[in-house]
């Protein structure tokens, strides 16, 4: 449990202190913290997952001053994740209270699900943020760059967690 809390705090710290302030380019705004929602333990009930998504999104909104955007996106992410996971055979993982990660479901399944969710999340957030001055090319390019960066970080985190404990 302590490891789990540490993991959450570490990821949120990285997001709000480092990734929110990269400043290399306007096209790079990775939302790495969504890995927390993607890798949620599989036995958690659906209403709790939705509530958790809403809360985490609101916290993310507080740090970037965009009330409602991340909260909405996180809940969509949770719902789409539930749909994607519903099509996968995860009875064993649920019975063993395992989180959804590369070790519990395998690389290809995890990579496909994560990539879909990460691209969706970034596109949705950038689209909501740009309402009023939507530029399709900018949104797509920012989504592509930021999602690839996020996926790389998630990959590294998965790799590290594997080395460290075999969990997460």
């Amino acid at each position: 449990m302590i490891r789990l809390i540490f993991y959450w705090i570490a990821i949120l710290f990285l997001q709000f202190v480092v990734f929110n302030h990269l400043g290399f380019t306007a096209y790079l705004a990775p939302q790495v913290f969504i890995v927390l929602l993607i890798t949620l333990p599989l036995h958690i009930s659906k209403p709790y997952q939705v509530l958790l998504g809403f809360t985490l999104g609101l916290i993310a909104d507080l740090f970037v001053g965009t009330p409602g955007i991340h909260a909405s996106a996180c809940m969509w992410l949770v719902i789409i994740r539930l749909l994607l996971l519903g099509a996968q055979d995860l009875k064993e993982q649920i019975a063993n209270h395992l989180p959804y990660n590369v070790h519990s479901v395998g690389l290809s399944t995890f990579a496909a699900t994560t990539a879909s969710l990460v691209f969706f999340y970034h596109f949705y957030v950038f689209w909501l943020e740009s309402i009023g001055a939507i530029n399709g090319y900018v949104i797509l390019f920012t989504t592509l760059v930021s999602a690839l960066f996020t996926l790389t970080v998630i990959g590294v985190v998965q790799l590290l967690s594997d080395k460290a404990s075999g969990e997460f």
Partner: protein, 274 residues
């Protein structure tokens, strides 16, 4: 009931999701300036469109009333148009006197029954003797000549349409009046025929055909139609002239009855001369 509870329990996360998304929507559009401006702009656009749609729909509700007003307005214009009205000078010694009295009056009416496929087509209008309409009054549409009143009762009048085999109008083409009848030959509901026009006459397709001064029922200059075809043979001395009617009898809704105010004084004079 148990099924309902089970359904709610099973889908409570969806309801929660919808509720929380609504809260997000409120936060998004009330606390983010760009999104707020955007939704205000979109709301204004939607309001404009809905108002436009609403006025389009409600516009139909008083269409009949508007038609009546419009018809009255057209009738008034007919009355005041010097091309379609005849004027009598009250004082023949002072020709430039502006006090003129109109010979023709115009009464708007609505067509309540109409046929075009019979040999003797008649339409009925919703004005009768109560409105001052009598037999042998001319009837025009906003497009041109339409017919002659056959008979009237208190509220309605039947009108012999131009598409009636007994109809005979004296046409004026290029300011020349031709004393040969313009008749309907019971073939095409948009075409009348003039026979006996000499080939030496300078006629061409497209020439307008008007009423002339040889009728007391209509003012001169009411459009009847335009020449659509000129037929002749090498051995014939005459044209068979086809005239496309200006009035579309397939879609005749509103007409105007021409009232010659001095008809009772004019007819006896003509009869005496005959």
């Amino acid at each position: 009931m148990q099924r309902l509870i089970a359904f709610i329990e099973q889908n409570i996360y969806i309801m929660l999701f919808i509720l929380l998304q609504a809260i997000c929507g409120v936060l998004l559009f009330s606390l983010n300036p760009y999104q707020q401006a955007s939704i205000t702009h979109s709301a204004a656009f939607i309001t404009d469109k809905s108002n436009e749609l609403s006025s389009t729909v409600t516009g139909y509700f008083d269409l009949q009333e508007q038609n009546k007003l419009l018809q009255a307005q057209v009738a008034s214009q007919f009355k005041n148009d010097s091309r379609t009205s005849l004027y009598f000078m009250d004082d023949t010694l002072t020709l430039r006197d502006t006090s003129r009295r109109k010979l023709f009056d115009v009464l708007p009416a609505q067509v309540v029954y109409n046929t075009i496929y019979k040999a003797s087509n008649v339409f009925i209008i919703n004005k009768g003797t109560k409105n001052g309409i009598q037999k042998n009054m001319g009837v025009i549409s906003s497009q041109g000549l339409a017919g002659i009143v056959l008979q009237s009762n208190e509220n309605y009048s039947s009108v012999m349409s131009l598409l009636h085999i007994n109809m005979n109008v004296i046409p004026t083409i290029n300011n020349l009046e031709y004393y040969t009848g313009l008749k309907w030959d019971n073939l095409n509901p948009q075409t009348l025929k003039i026979t006996g026009l000499n080939k030496l006459e300078e006629l061409k397709v497209g020439d307008k055909v008007y009423t002339g001064k040889s009728s007391l029922l209509f003012p001169a200059g009411i459009l009847i139609g335009e020449i659509s075809k000129l037929e002749t043979t090498t051995t014939s001395q005459y044209f068979t002239t086809y005239v496309k009617t200006a009035t579309n009898f397939r879609n005749l809704d509103y007409v105007y009855v021409i009232v010659n105010k001095d008809i009772n004084q004019l007819v006896p004079l003509l009869q005496e001369n005959d």
